[in-house]
C-alpha cells in the first residue's frame, strides 16, 4: 500500500489533531478537578496519541540491527546524548527490572499486533473521522508500523486499568517527570538521524507543534494519591473539608466565616455572584487566604490569564527567594496577580500537624490588584538567559517583592498576558508592541507562541536589559468614585443619606454602564485625585456633580426599595418559623443546665420555672449525667410543677400500661411466630419436594417434609401420640428433647404439638387438630379448612373480636387486667428458677387449664356478650390463643423481664426451638398454675382472639422491626448486648398501639438515644410517644417533610441566594431531598451519640424558646457550615448527597448548634427590624 504525499500530510494532520484533543482533554480535567490522577484515562489517551506521533516514520535501522522499532528503543538510544532521555531511560529500566512481567507494552505493541487487526484498522483509515473519534473515551492504543504504510489501530486489548498504567511507560514517566517536552524537542532537532524524511517528527512544522503542545501537560502535577477505584470519582468529603480548611483561615476551621446573614445583606446590594470578591474590606481580607488556593484555578468568577509554577519571589524578611505559583486572573473588571509559595500549593496531602508552619507562608503569599500598580519594572541580566525579574510598584510608591521568572521567555509571556488583561480599560505605557528597541523580544511571545523553540530563545541575548512600563487606567476612576459614594450611601441608613458625599467625588460623565456596587475595593480619594489629574479631562465639574447626585439618589432609592421588598418577603415567608419574642442569650458565666442550676430550679423537687429551664437548655444544653432526670421534662412526659409523688405515680401508671400493652402484643407475636414457622416449614418443604404444592393442606405431608430428616418423624409421632391423652407426659418430654436439639424446624413442630395437644383435650379428632390450629391463627388467604365447623368458628371469632375491641378501646382494660399483669410479671420472674424439675407438672397443666378452670371466665364473658356462642367452640378458640400466649411467654418472657430489672435474659440469638423445647415451657406453664389462674393469661382477659388482618399486619410489622432492630447501632456499646431486645420491645409496643401507622424505618433510630439515656423501657416508651407526636408527621404518612423542604427552600432562597442559585442551576436540587434523613431522624444519623443527645435537647427546648422549626435552622447551619465547599466545588445533587453522607457523624455539632442559634436570632432581628 503506497500512500501519496497528500495522504501522509493528511495523516500527520490527524495525528497532531488527536494529540491536541487529548491535551485539551487533560488540561480540562486538570482545571476542573484540580488534580490529575496518574492513571486517568486521559493520560493514557494522550500517551497513546504521542506514541503514535513518535512512531510514525521511525527509522528502524537507526536503532541498531537487533533493536525493535519501538519508541522505547528510541528512548534508550537517545539517552546517550540527551540528559532528559537518560533520566527517563533509567527509570524505565528500573521498573522493567523490578518486574520482568511488566514490560513496557509499547515496546511490544508493534510486534504483537495481530494481522487481523492491522487489516481492519487500515480499512478503518478510510473513514476519515474514525481515528480521532475512536480515541475519544476508551483507552486507546495507537500504534504504527515501521513501514511507510501507516495504520492507526484501535486495540481492544486494554481491559484492566492496571494494564493501562503500564502502557506507554516511558512517555508516562516522562510526562510525570515533566521532561517529555525536552525529549521531544531533542528528537525534533535530531530528527534526521532517527526519522524518515516525511515523518511527522521530522516535519519542520509538526515537529515543533508536537513539542509545544506538550508543554502544558508537562507542567501539570500528577497524583497517585487515590486508589484506582476512585481516581475518576470526586474527592471524598474528608478531602474536600481538609482542602477547604487549608485554603480558608485556619482558626475558623471548617465553620463558615461568613454567616448567612451577611449573604442576606449582600443579596440586597448585588445581583451578581461577583459579590464574593468582596466590597467589604473586612470580608475580603478574611477570605484572602482562601482566595489564594480557591481562585488559583479557572473558575466562574475569574479567568485565568497566565499561570506559571516555580516563579521565585523574595518576600520581606526572607533571605532566600522562594519558588511558587504565579498566576494572573481577570475578574470582570479587575485584574489580580497572585503568587503562592509552593509550600501552600500542595498542602492538602500533608498531615494537619504541619498546618501551623504553613501559617507563616500565608504571610508571604502575594495578592496584588493591578489597579493599585502604577509601574512595572522589568530587569534582565545581560548575556545569559536567566529569565527576568519583574518589580511592581504601587501608586504609593512602594515596591512589591520582586518576581523572578525562570528562563524560557516566561517574563515576556507574563507581560503580554498582563497587557491583554488590562484591555479594554487600561494598557501598558509604552505598549509592548511599539517598543522598537525590544521589538524582537516582545514580539515573539505573540507570534511564536505556538512554537516555542529554545533555539530562538537562546539567540536573544543582545536585547536591552531593563524596561519600565506604566499601567494606565482609562476609565477606572469614575466608576470608583461612583461606587465609593454609593457604597457609603447604602451602608448608612437611607434616611440619613449624605448627599454631600458626592461632591467630593469624581469628575467625568457618569453615563457609562450601570454601576456595580461591590466590584471594587474601596479606594482612597488620593488615588482618585491622582488619576483624575492624569486623565486631564475638561468636563465641567458642576455638571458632573449634578448628574452624580441624581444618579446617587435614584440608586439609593432603589436600594432602599429593594431592601423593603426583601424585608417584606422575609416577613411573609419566614416569620412563622421563629418566635417573635427574642429570649436573651446566656450570660458569659452560665453554661447550660448544670447540676447546681438544676437543683436551684427544683424547689422541693418541683420544677416551676419552665422558661428559665428551657432557656438554659437551649443555650447551653444539659449536663450529660443529668439527662435522665431532665429529658422527661423536655419531652413533656413530666409536667412542670409536678411533685415527686405525682411523678412517681405517673411512672408507675406508665410502667403498668406499658407492661399490659406489651403482654398484649407478645401474645400476638407468639401466634405470628408460630405461623411464621409453619410457613417456613412449608416453604422449605415445598422447596425440598420440588415445589410440590398439592400436599400443603395435609398435616402429614407438611410435617413429614419438615426439613426432610429424622426429626420430622419424631415430631409427627409426637402429634399422633398426643392424640392419645394418656401418653402426654412422655410426649412432652420427647418433644423437648427433639426441639431442644434441633433448632427451628423442631421448634415449629414442638409448637404445633403443644397447641394441638391442648386442642385435643377439647376435640380429639386428629384431622381437625390441624384445621383448628390454622384457623385459630390466620389462614393467609388460602383456606385449610374443609370441615363444617369452620364457618362456626369464623362467626365465633367475629364475636370474640367485638368483645375484645371494647377493652382495647378503653385503653385501660377492665378489672381482670391488673391482677393479670402481675401474674404475668410473676411468671416472668419464675423464668430464672423455673426449670426442668417442673416439667411434669407443666406438661399436664394445659390440660387442666383448658379443660377446666380457664374456660370458665371466658365462657361467662362470652355468654354475657353474645349469648349465642357454642361453649365448646368458644373454648376451642380461646384456648388456642391462650396456648399461644403461653408460648409467647416461653419465648418473650425473658425479654420482658428485662424491663423489670431482671437481668437473666436470654440472648436474642437463642434459637426458638431451644426456647420452646427447653426450660421455658416448664416454667411458664408452671406460672400459669399459680393461684391467680383465673386470669392467668393476659390474653384471656382481652378475649385473646385476633382477626387475621390484625395478625397479618402486626406480624409484618414485627418482622420489619426485628430486621431493623438487629441492625440498629449494634456497634454502639449500649446495644452490644441484650439491650437490643429492649429496643424491640419499645418499638413493638408503640407499633401495637399505633397499628394504623405501623412501623416505619427510622423509628429505631429515634428510640435508641432515648433508651440509651433512660435505660428503662417504659420511660423510654412514654417519652418516645411524646417525641413521635412531632416526628410522626415527618414520616411518609405525614406531611411535615414536604413542609420542611418548602421552608428550607424559602430560607435558602431568601438568606443565601448564592447557594440557592447554585442549587437551582446545578441540576435543580431545590427539592432538598438530601435533607430527608436529617429531618426524619432529627439529625440522629448525622451525629455521634453524644452530639445527638446535645442536639435533641436543644431542638426540644427551642420549641419553647425560639423556634418550633429549629431543625430547619440546624439544617441551614449544616449547609452554611460547608457553604464554601459546596459553592467552590459547585456541587450538584449527587455531590451534595455524597458529601453529607460521607460527612455523617463527623460534624462539629457544637459549632453547628451555635450557628443554628445565631441564624434563628438573626432572622428574629430581621423580622423585628432591629
Amino acid at each position: 500500500m503506497v500512500q501519496t504525499t497528500a495522504d501522509t500530510m493528511d495523516f500527520k494532520e490527524r495525528l497532531i489533531a488527536s494529540v491536541k484533543k487529548e491535551v485539551k482533554q487533560l488540561m480540562e480535567e486538570a482545571v476542573t478537578k484540580k488534580y490529575v490522577h496518574e492513571e486517568s484515562s486521559s493520560v493514557t489517551s494522550l500517551c497513546g496519541a504521542v506514541e503514535a506521533c513518535l512512531s510514525q516514520g521511525l527509522r528502524r535501522r537507526a536503532l541498531g540491527l537487533f533493536k525493535t522499532s519501538s519508541t522505547t528503543a528510541l528512548l534508550h538510544k537517545i539517552a546517550k546524548s540527551c540528559p532528559e532521555a537518560e533520566h527517563i531511560s533509567k527509570l524505565v529500566q528500573e521498573i522493567e527490572a523490578s518486574d520482568p512481567s511488566k514490560r513496557s507494552s509499547s515496546s511490544s505493541d508493534s510486534f504483537q499486533r495481530p494481522p487481523m487487526l492491522k487489516k481492519s484498522s487500515s480499512h478503518s483509515m478510510s473513514g476519515s473521522q474514525q481515528v480521532a473519534a475512536s480515541s475519544s473515551s476508551a483507552s486507546v492504543s495507537v500504534s504504527a508500523s515501521a513501514s511507510a504504510s501507516v495504520s492507526v489501530s484501535v486495540s481492544a486489548s486494554n481491559s484492566s486499568m492496571s494494564l493501562a498504567s503500564l502502557k506507554y511507560l516511558w512517555i508516562r514517566l516522562a510526562l510525570y517527570e515533566k521532561r517529555l517536552t525536552k525529549i521531544i524537542e531533542y528528537l525534533v532537532s535530531n530528527a534526521s538521524s532517527f526519522y524518515e524524511r516525511d515523518s511527522l517528527v521530522a516535519d519542520p512544522d509538526y515537529g515543533s507543534i508536537l513539542s509545544s503542545l506538550l508543554v502544558g501537560p508537562c507542567a501539570l502535577e500528577f497524583t497517585r494519591a487515590k486508589t484506582a477505584d476512585h481516581y475518576w470519582t470526586d474527592p471524598h468529603a474528608d478531602e474536600l473539608v481538609q482542602r477547604h480548611r487549608i485554603s480558608s483561615c485556619r482558626r475558623s476551621s471548617s465553620t463558615c466565616s461568613r454567616p448567612a446573614i451577611i449573604n442576606f445583606k449582600r443579596s440586597l446590594n448585588t445581583s451578581s455572584d461577583e459579590a464574593s470578591s468582596g466590597s467589604f474590606k473586612s470580608i475580603a481580607s478574611a477570605s484572602v487566604a482562601k482566595d489564594y488556593v480557591e481562585s488559583l484555578h479557572q473558575n466562574a468568577k475569574a479567568t485565568l490569564l497566565y499561570g506559571k509554577n516555580n516563579v521565585q519571589v523574595l518576600p520581606k524578611n526572607v533571605a532566600e527567594p522562594m519558588p511558587g505559583y504565579l498566576s494572573l486572573h481577570q475578574h470582570i473588571q479587575t485584574l489580580t496577580i497572585k503568587w503562592t509559595p509552593n509550600q501552600l500549593m500542595n498542602g492538602y496531602n500533608e498531615a494537619e500537624e504541619e498546618d501551623i508552619d504553613k501559617d507563616a507562608f500565608w504571610a508571604y503569599a502575594l495578592n496584588i490588584n493591578v489597579d493599585e500598580i502604577v509601574y512595572v519594572h522589568c530587569h534582565q541580566s545581560r548575556g545569559e538567559d536567566s529569565g527576568g525579574t519583574v518589580i511592581l510598584v504601587g501608586q504609593d510608591g512602594v515596591q512589591r517583592p520582586p518576581i523572578h521568572f525562570p528562563e524560557g521567555g516566561h517574563m515576556q509571556q507574563f507581560l503580554s498576558c498582563l497587557e491583554t488583561g488590562l484591555l479594554p480599560h487600561g494598557q501598558l505605557d509604552p505598549p509592548l508592541w511599539s517598543q522598537r528597541g525590544i521589538g524582537k523580544m516582545f514580539l515573539w511571545p505573540r507570534s511564536m507562541r505556538r512554537r516555542i523553540l529554545p533555539s530562538v530563545m537562546e539567540s536573544v541575548d543582545e536585547t536591552p536589559i531593563d524596561y519600565v512600563f506604566r499601567i494606565v487606567s482609562k476609565s477606572r476612576h469614575e466608576e470608583f468614585a461612583a461606587t465609593h459614594s454609593i457604597l457609603d450611601f447604602v451602608r448608612s441608613t437611607p434616611r440619613r443619606a449624605q448627599l454631600s458625599s458626592c461632591s467630593t467625588t469624581g469628575s467625568s460623565d457618569c453615563s457609562n454602564k450601570s454601576l456595580s456596587i461591590d466590584q471594587f475595593p474601596l479606594e482612597s480619594p488620593l488615588l482618585l485625585h491622582h488619576q483624575q489629574q492624569m486623565l486631564q479631562q475638561s468636563t465641567s465639574i458642576e455638571m458632573v456633580c449634578s448628574t452624580m447626585r441624581r444618579q446617587i439618589i435614584s440608586r439609593a432609592f432603589y436600594g432602599w426599595l429593594a431592601y423593603c421588598r426583601h424585608l417584606s418577603t422575609v416577613r411573609t415567608h419566614l416569620s412563622g418559623l421563629v418566635h417573635g419574642r427574642i429570649t436573651p442569650e446566656m450570660k458569659a458565666d452560665e453554661e447550660g443546665l448544670t447540676r447546681e442550676r438544676w437543683e436551684l430550679l427544683n424547689v422541693d423537687g418541683v420544677l416551676e420555672n419552665a422558661t428559665e429551664f428551657y432557656r438554659l437548655v437551649y443555650f447551653g444544653g444539659v449536663q450529660p449525667e443529668m439527662r435522665q432526670e431532665v429529658w422527661p421534662y423536655l419531652l413533656g412526659h413530666y409536667a412542670f410543677g409536678s411533685t415527686p409523688e405525682e411523678r412517681k405515680k405517673q411512672d408507675e401508671t406508665c410502667k403498668h400500661y406499658y407492661e399490659t400493652t406489651m403482654s398484649e402484643w407478645l401474645a400476638v407475636d407468639a401466634i405470628v411466630q408460630q405461623r411464621e414457622k409453619e410457613k417456613t416449614a412449608r416453604a422449605v418443604a415445598k422447596l425440598s419436594s420440588g415445589s410440590n404444592s398439592g400436599n400443603e393442606r395435609t398435616v402429614r405431608a407438611v410435617d413429614l417434609d419438615l426439613g426432610g430428616g429424622e426429626l420430622e418423624n419424631e415430631v409427627f409421632e409426637d402429634i399422633s401420640d398426643i392424640s392419645d391423652p394418656g401418653d402426654l407426659e412422655f410426649d412432652e418430654q420427647q418433644q423437648q428433647e427433639g426441639g431442644g436439639g434441633a433448632g427451628g424446624a423442631g421448634g415449629a413442630g414442638g409448637l404445633v404439638t403443644s397447641l394441638s395437644g391442648m386442642h385435643l383435650s377439647v376435640k380429639p379428632i386428629p384431622r381437625s387438630m390441624k384445621t383448628s390450629t390454622d384457623s385459630g391463627h390466620v389462614d393467609e388467604g388460602e383456606s385449610f379448612n374443609e370441615l363444617d365447623e369452620d364457618l362456626d368458628q369464623e362467626q365465633d371469632r367475629e364475636r370474640e373480636r367485638e368483645k375484645q375491641a371494647k377493652p382495647e378501646e378503653q385503653g385501660t382494660p377492665p378489672n381482670p387486667e391488673p391482677s393479670c399483669s402481675t401474674s404475668t410479671a410473676s411468671s416472668y420472674e419464675t423464668v430464672g428458677m423455673g426449670g426442668a424439675q417442673t416439667t411434669t407438672r407443666s406438661v399436664l397443666s394445659p390440660e387442666y387449664l383448658s379443660a377446666d378452670e380457664l374456660q370458665l371466665p371466658e365462657d361467662e364473658e362470652a355468654s354475657a356478650a353474645s349469648g349465642a356462642a357454642k361453649p365448646h367452640q368458644q373454648a376451642a378458640s380461646v384456648i388456642i390463643t391462650k396456648a399461644s400466649v403461653d408460648i409467647a411467654n416461653w419465648e418473650r418472657g425473658p425479654r420482658a423481664s428485662g424491663g423489670q430489672g431482671d437481668h437473666q435474659m436470654s440472648p436474642l440469638e437463642e434459637s426458638p426451638g431451644e426456647t420452646a423445647g427447653g426450660a421455658g415451657p416448664g416454667s411458664n406453664l408452671d406460672a400459669l398454675q399459680e393461684p391467680k389462674s383465673a386470669c392467668a393469661s393476659p390474653a384471656s382477659s382481652n378475649g385473646g382472639v385476633y382477626s387475621s388482618e390484625l395478625l397479618e399486619q402486626f406480624g409484618l410489622n414485627l418482622h420489619r422491626i426485628e430486621k431493623d432492630v438487629q441492625r440498629c447501632d449494634r456497634n454502639y456499646w449500649y446495644f452490644a448486648n441484650e439491650n437490643l431486645d429492649k429496643l424491640r420491645n419499645v418499638i413493638s409496643t408503640y407499633v401495637w398501639e399505633h397499628l394504623d401507622v405501623g412501623y416505619m424505618q427510622g423509628m429505631c433510630d429515634l428510640v435508641a438515644p432515648l433508651l440509651v439515656i433512660f435505660d428503662d423501657e417504659s420511660l423510654s416508651y412514654s417519652c418516645f410517644c411524646k417525641l413521635m407526636e412531632r416526628m410522626i408527621e415527618n414520616f411518609p404518612s405525614g406531611g411535615a417533610m414536604d413542609m420542611h423542604f418548602a421552608n428550607m427552600r424559602s430560607l435558602i432562597q431568601i438568606l443565601d441566594s448564592e447557594m440557592y442559585d447554585l442549587m437551582d442551576s446545578n441540576g435543580d436540587y431545590t427539592h432538598f431531598y438530601f435533607c430527608y434523613r436529617w429531618f426524619l431522624l432529627d439529625f440522629k444519623r448525622e451525629l455521634v451519640y453524644d452530639d445527638v443527645f446535645a442536639t435533641w435537647e436543644v431542638i426540644w427546648a427551642a420549641k419553647h424558646i425560639a423556634s418550633g422549626h429549629f431543625v430547619l435552622f440546624l439544617a441551614l447551619a449544616l449547609l452554611e457550615t460547608y457553604r464554601d465547599i459546596i459553592l467552590s466545588n459547585s456541587m450538584d445533587f449527587t455531590d451534595v448527597i455524597k458529601f453529607f453522607n460521607e460527612m455523617a457523624e463527623r460534624h462539629n455539632a457544637q459549632a453547628v448548634l451555635q450557628l443554628a442559634r445565631s441564624l434563628v436570632l438573626q432572622l428574629q432581628m430581621i423580622i423585628e427590624n432591629k
Binding site: 486494554n158 477505584d229 415445589s691 430486621k963 431493623d964 448527597i1137
Partner: protein, 207 residues
C-alpha cells in the same frame, strides 16, 4: 469528532428491606462485607469505575430505603436511571413476591422511555445461608416471564457472583444508554449490539 458520550451509568438497587442492598453495593464497590450496616434511610450512592466493552464508564449505584413506604421519595432518585437491580432474599419468600411491585413501582416512577425493554437485573441474595426458601427455578421462571431479566444468585457476604452480576448490570445499562442516544456516530454499532444481546440475554441467567 465524536462528542464524548456520557460516561455515567446510573443504577438503582431496589428490594425489600434487609435483603442486602447496601451490602451488595458495598461488596461490589469496596470489596468488603460488614454486618454493621444500618437500615438505609433516604438514599446513598457509591461510584465505581468499570470497563465495559472497552469503555471506561463510571457506575453510580444508588442504594435506596427498602420499606415501600419510602417509595414516594423515589422520583428524585430513580430519574435518569440506566438500569434497575431488583434484589430479593432467597430465605424470605415475601421479598421475592414483592419483586413485582418493586418493578412496577420503578417503571411508574422512573418512567423510562421504553418500559418494555428497560434493563432490569434480578439478584437473589444471601445464598450463603442454608435456610433457602425460594428456589432457583421459581426465580428464573419469574425472570423469564418478565422479558428475560438476567438473574443471578449472589451472596454479598461471601462475594459470590457479585462482580459478575454487576458486570452484567453495567453492560445492560450501557446498552440502554446507547439505545437512548438518538444521535450517534456509529449507528451500525447499535444495531449490532442490540442484535447480539437480545437473544444473548437468556445466556446471562445460567446460574
Amino acid at each position: 469528532m465524536a462528542s464524548r458520550k456520557k460516561s455515567l451509568l446510573k443504577v438503582i438497587i431496589l428490594g425489600d428491606s434487609s435483603v442486602g442492598k447496601t451490602s451488595l453495593m458495598n461488596q461490589y464497590v469496596n470489596k468488603r462485607f460488614s454486618n454493621q450496616y444500618k437500615a438505609t434511610i433516604g438514599a446513598d450512592f457509591c461510584t465505581k469505575e468499570v470497563v465495559v466493552n472497552d469503555r471506561v464508564v463510571t457506575m453510580q449505584i444508588w442504594d435506596t430505603a427498602g420499606q415501600e413506604r419510602f417509595q414516594s421519595l423515589g422520583v428524585a432518585f430513580y430519574r435518569g436511571a440506566d438500569c434497575c437491580v431488583l434484589v430479593y432474599d432467597v430465605t424470605a419468600p415475601n421479598s421475592f413476591k414483592n419483586l413485582d411491585s418493586w418493578r412496577d413501582e420503578f417503571l411508574i416512577q422512573a418512567s423510562p422511555r421504553d418500559p418494555e425493554h428497560f434493563p432490569f437485573v434480578v439478584l437473589g441474595n444471601k445464598v450463603d445461608l442454608d435456610n433457602r426458601q425460594v428456589s432457583t427455578r421459581r426465580a428464573q421462571q419469574w425472570c423469564q416471564s418478565k422479558n428475560d431479566i438476567p438473574y443471578y444468585e449472589t451472596s454479598a457476604k461471601e462475594g459470590i457472583n457479585v462482580e459478575l452480576a454487576f458486570q452484567t448490570i453495567a453492560k445492560n445499562a450501557l446498552e440502554q444508554e446507547a439505545e437512548a442516544d438518538v444521535v450517534n456516530d456509529f449507528p451500525d454499532q447499535i444495531i449490532l449490539n442490540s442484535q447480539n444481546n437480545r437473544p444473548g440475554n437468556p445466556d446471562n441467567c445460567q446460574c
